[in-house]
Amino acid sequence: MKNSLQIVAEPVKVVAPKKSLWIDAWKRLKKQRSAMIGLTIVLFFILLGVFAQFLTSHPYDGFNTDKILISPNSEHWFGTDDQGRDIFSRILYGARISLWIGFFSVIGSIIVGCYLGLIAGFYGKWVDTIISRMFDIMLAFPSILLAIAIVAVLGPSLFNALIAIAIINVPTYGRLIRSRVLSVKEEEYIMSSKSIGMSNSRILFQHILPNCMTPIIVQGTLGIATAILEAAALGFLGLGAQPGEPEWGKMLSDSRQFLTVAPWTLLFPGFAIMLTVVGFNMFGDGLRDALDPKTK
């Protein structure tokens, strides 16, 4: 028995050499101009966030009475806000917050969504019914409203906004994985794994899950864009970032009243949100075309 297992396992490695698949995908991705522009924008904002403290000499918080609402100039590139804080610095530090929320909320949604989707698709029957109904119910709420309800329960904070955004996006990934599992589990290599007595959890996580990853990666990239928008919306409503935190959505709601006298306080944070989201959307669309050409 042990011998036959090895024999079965060997050719699988030869058939699906992992490296060339990704190199292949990267080659296809490189040819897509818009995907590369998207990737550049994303990397640009990541670098801005990572090196924020080296790129600006002005602090992002504090209160500076002599510098209230200064229009953009050579010292304060994007001007200052009503507390005299440098908007450029706040946008740099805000990049950290937005990317952090976008990335980790999507990771959270993917982990929970994959787990539920795998179980639902693999075991079927009542397990599937319960999980699928649960997804239906969650999708019956407009997503931002569900996030508002969750934050209203947990209390407003950045971390709770992240949790809320992760929860509302679980069904998206869960459904995606479930439908993939339904087709993958009929494949012959799954049947052969079963016939050699492989445990269900090993089949699920070592054979089925890797074969469902492509659409998840694509959806996850596009999901970061959505999550950043949702985080900004919650911040704008006062349900995400709290006073002082340089979150882009929160910056917009704090400066709303200065629309007439100091439009730059609103122009730049909003532009930063839009550009980041455009980057992730372009990159995600390109990834989909490169990795998953069928689902266009």
């Binding site: 709420f141 997503s143 329960v153 704008f236 629309l259 839009m274």
Partner: protein
């Protein structure tokens, strides 16, 4: 077909029950005793006890839930904690305002989105296609509240073309009949009022409609591209039919089913986006009603608002699914 209709409507029941459980849970999921949460930390124990009895919190959870469902079904949404008025009475004008705004956004999104999508597919890879798809990309990436603020800045502050706040000119109020002011002013023959209501509707309608417009344009384009390559379109062209006739009559008819589904799903986006748009434009709709309630921790209003909006969303999607079944005879729903 009839059995599909019946089945689809029956499928709604577990979803509605699930929704009511989620909404019911909101108040119970808050850490601590709901009565204390509502009254605040400084409330006297007597007041807390009284509210507990009033809300039925001393009964078992399951009977509380059934009492909640019973009251919703009979049209009793409870009282607002802030105004002490019954929510079902208070919510009606807000609901009408939101519905009017949604209709405006949906019309803007569908008319512009579908036509831009058709043109982009027809002139594939042309400058129009490139520009339209670039705008669509920016459109889906735009935070709706920022777009609203920028609109206010450009069209109200700088150009003074359009009003930025409210539903009508406060000096000439419009008398509400249905609550939809565009309809009310037509009924009353108040043409100045109609123009006024229309002007107030443009900016918030455009802000709320932009994301759906972008999504609709993208899906129409890809759906049309597929259809335009089919043989019957070639036949129609070979017969010498005009391009407009081919595009709108022959191609669109078959390309429209996926577009319709997307339009239905956008209603959810609109209802969610309404919270943001209404806050910015001072639009007295249900989204703002919920937003204000969050500030006051008015949980019954938050619960009812979310329940009503989600019920509308579910019903719209039901209608879309049923329309889809009628529109696409190829699908067999047995």
């Amino acid at each position: 077909m009839k059995s599909y209709f019946a089945r689809r409507i029956l499928q709604l029941v577990p979803v509605l029950i699930g929704m009511s459980i989620v909404v019911f849970s909101i108040i119970h999921a808050i850490p601590g005793d709901p009565a204390t949460v509502i009254l605040g930390d400084h409330a006297t124990p007597e007041a807390v006890k009284e509210l507990r009895t009033e809300m039925g919190l001393d009964k078992p959870l399951i009977s509380q839930y059934f009492a909640y469902v019973k009251s919703i079904v009979t049209g009793d949404l409870g009282n607002s904690l802030r105004t002490k008025k019954p929510i079902q009475e208070e919510i009606t004008p807000y609901l009408a305002a939101t519905i009017e705004l949604m209709f405006a956004s949906m019309i803007i999104a569908t008319v512009i989105g579908v036509n831009a999508g058709i043109l982009a597919a027809w002139k594939r890879a042309s400058w129009f296609d490139n520009i339209a798809m670039f705008i669509a990309l920016v459109g889906v990436s735009m935070p709706v509240f920022w777009l609203g603020l920028m609109e206010q800045w450009i069209f109200s502050e700088k150009l003074s073309w359009l009003p930025s706040i409210g539903r009508f000119n406060a000096r000439e109020p419009i008398e509400a009949i249905t609550g939809l002011y565009m309809v009310d002013t037509i009924i009353q023959g108040n043409w100045a009022g109609l123009w006024d209501a229309f002007k107030h509707l443009i900016l918030p309608g455009l802000a709320l409609g932009t994301i759906p417009m972008a999504i609709i344009a993208r899906i129409t384009r890809s759906s049309m591209l597929e259809v335009l390559e089919s043989e019957y379109v070639r036949t129609a062209r070979a017969k010498g039919l005009s391009e407009i006739w081919v595009l709108y009559k022959h191609a669109l008819k078959n390309a429209f089913a996926p577009v319709l589904t997307v339009i239905g799903l956008q209603v959810g986006l609109l209802l969610g986006g309404a919270v943001l748009t209404e806050t910015i434009f001072g639009w007295p709709g249900i989204g703002r009603y919920i937003y204000d309630a969050i500030g006051y921790r008015d949980y019954p209003v938050i619960q009812s608002g979310i329940l009503i909006i989600s019920t509308i969303f579910v019903c719209v999607n039901l209608v879309v699914d049923l329309l889809y079944a009628r529109l696409d005879p190829r699908i067999n729903y047995k």
